[in-house]
Symmetry: C2
Subunit: 363 residues, 2 copies
């Protein structure tokens, strides 16, 4: 019944068997502190309940849940890091509470319903790595009606950026190399620097407008099908005159309370605005006070940096834009057919009467 484990999946799981990647994630204090705070904020719900941790890694979130009083935590990971997680659990005398399951969420057996799903599933550009699919699988297999999913929802944003220093460092550099004109390198330099999305940290000052919400994910309702391809149209009005170098993508996730709808199994986040699906609503949401005081883990350029940084798609040539000039177009993110863990990015943009298309693959 579960989909077969492909070579791509195996390579993906192997990449998480190395300690360094877990060290980097744990040392990302914005990430780990926010998860811990979210668990403690929901302690009264978690205490005495059954939790599943999807992609547990070293098991740190599972142990936080045990510390919050969970009756039982199923810590699931397909990577060999699960062997270490089990050792950590034993060494902390938590074997009665935390049960490490070394396998895919799609394959392991949990013979009871769970009250809480916790998972740190977010990849670069939110959807890269496609681990949200495992959260969906866990939800549909085990989550009780009215159960809690942490994080409860996520939003992927995009915004036009200007980044003259970055462009100059990689591209204009070749115009004068120790007095030699190496402009002949420019076409290849542009291709090498900007063909693929670039994960890097930019500053709030690099962003030309408020962001546009590319995709809102309600973890209670999202389906695998809707993640196969995500499309949106955007329309920005530049707040300043600047060369437009490309688009930045980032995300935030929120840790709202449990779903409480009596009408349906997996429906209704408590988040008040989630019924309003207008992009402009989400795109400006984070600038307003949060009515639920839900914890937010943000990877925005104006917020403290995280290991996710931002993901940049640069143009081969900058586009000069005036203040109030429109920048519009569309973006489609889809799973690569070559490797479902990869992401194809189809970007169309028009400004100042010129239109462009850029295809890239995040590998």
């Amino acid at each position: 019944k579960p989909p077969p484990c492909t070579d791509f999946d195996v390579a993906y799981f192997n990449s998480y068997a190395h300690v360094g990647i877990h060290e980097e994630m744990i040392k990302d204090r914005v990430r780990t502190d926010t998860y811990r705070a979210a668990i403690m904020q929901h302690q009264s719900y978690i205490a005495g309940k059954v939790v599943v941790d999807v992609g547990c890694g070293t098991g740190i979130l599972s142990i936080f849940c045990a510390q919050a009083g969970a009756k039982r935590v199923y810590a699931v990971d397909a990577s060999d890091i699960a062997v270490q997680a089990n050792e950590v659990v034993k060494a902390n005398n938590l074997s009665d509470t935390v049960i490490v399951l070394h396998g895919r969420v799609e394959d392991v057996e949990i013979n009871e319903e769970v009250d809480v799903i916790i998972s740190e599933w977010m990849g670069y550009m939110l959807l890269y790595e496609s681990m949200l699919g495992s959260v969906i699988c866990a939800r549909d297999r085990w989550l009780k009606p009215g159960g809690l999913i942490l994080p409860s929802n996520a939003t992927l944003y995009m915004a036009p950026v200007t980044h003259p220093d970055r462009y100059s460092d990689s591209i204009d550099f070749w115009r004068n190399v120790y007095g030699i004109d190496m402009s002949a390198m420019l076409p290849l330099a542009k291709q090498c620097a900007f063909e693929e999305p670039s994960v890097e940290t930019i500053a709030g000052e690099n962003v030309l407008t408020w962001p546009h919400a590319v995709k809102h994910v309600d973890c209670y309702r999202v389906t695998l099908h809707e993640l196969e391809s995500v499309s949106t149209r955007y329309r920005f009005k530049s707040m300043m005159r600047a060369p437009l170098h490309g688009f930045a993508f980032w995300f935030d996730v929120e840790f709202n309370g449990p779903a409480i709808s009596p009408a349906s199994n997996h429906v209704t986040a408590t988040f008040a605005e989630s019924s309003n699906d207008q992009p402009m609503d989400y795109s400006q949401r984070k600038k307003r006070p949060n009515p639920n005081e839900a914890l937010v883990l943000s990877t925005a350029p104006e917020d403290p940096p995280t290991h996710w940084q931002q993901t940049l798609i640069y143009f081969y040539e900058p586009i000069p834009v005036e203040q109030d000039q429109l920048i519009e177009g569309s973006v489609t993110l889809s799973q690569s057919k070559e490797n479902p863990r990869f992401m194809n990015i189809h970007l169309e943009y028009t400004s100042g009467g010129r239109s462009f298309v850029k295809e890239s693959v995040m590998r």
Copy 2:
């Protein structure tokens, strides 16, 4: 006659087709400035002569030689970056002087003897990547008796190091992770952090003694055969009390004048000490004034950092050493049978009555 071009060679050449690696090398000003200064220092020799640039990359060193008055420069590179080098040469109206040859030194044809070989062939730990073999090939195929090789000689050094912060960051970190004892991660953390050589920048203060010269390379006389396996015994006396965390490796290269021996084709650097083959001689050489005023490109921890940084081999456990305590043993560097571009490192060390062996592979 030339050895066949293997899949490993193709992968190696492809890695140099990306612009980023050339950008990094050119932006390493210690490297590029020293090469340019060396060419200008030997301008009177180079003017009117025939030069071959082994592994020319973007062609920058070839153009420096043309600027120094070379009659003709053969710029050879097996990577596709040679296509760009040719464009750069054309754009600078140097096509009459600089002839780009896209192929291996072993395969391309140059129908005249050359006066000068210039090459930036040094890899991490000097010998990683094995590009010196191409310099040897060029020398044996084309260099005139009494010709000039830049750099003329190279020395690989090693020294014991202490680096408590590095060890603590990667290893001790797991002893207390947000209040959780994750010591169960230590064995895997040590393996992941320290199984392979690590390219990183350390400071002079991390080094416990004067260095030992592992290998001196006289570019006029070195043979392929002697590079297949390099062995040395070392004996250090720690200058301080500290935990010994491993060994650092680095190198320097010198740009001496042309070989002038009438007795042999490819013999005799002018470097005065090159007849004295005692390791201690080389190991302390750079601390003394340079009698030939030869330019030196150094990648030592106490010198300004370069893109080569230093190469560290860490132990799984630090060894406490007292001031004046002996640290002795041997090291053997050999080409990997798996991939000749890789390097096997066999390290034996004894201190305080305990002996250890560490095998690692630089991939």
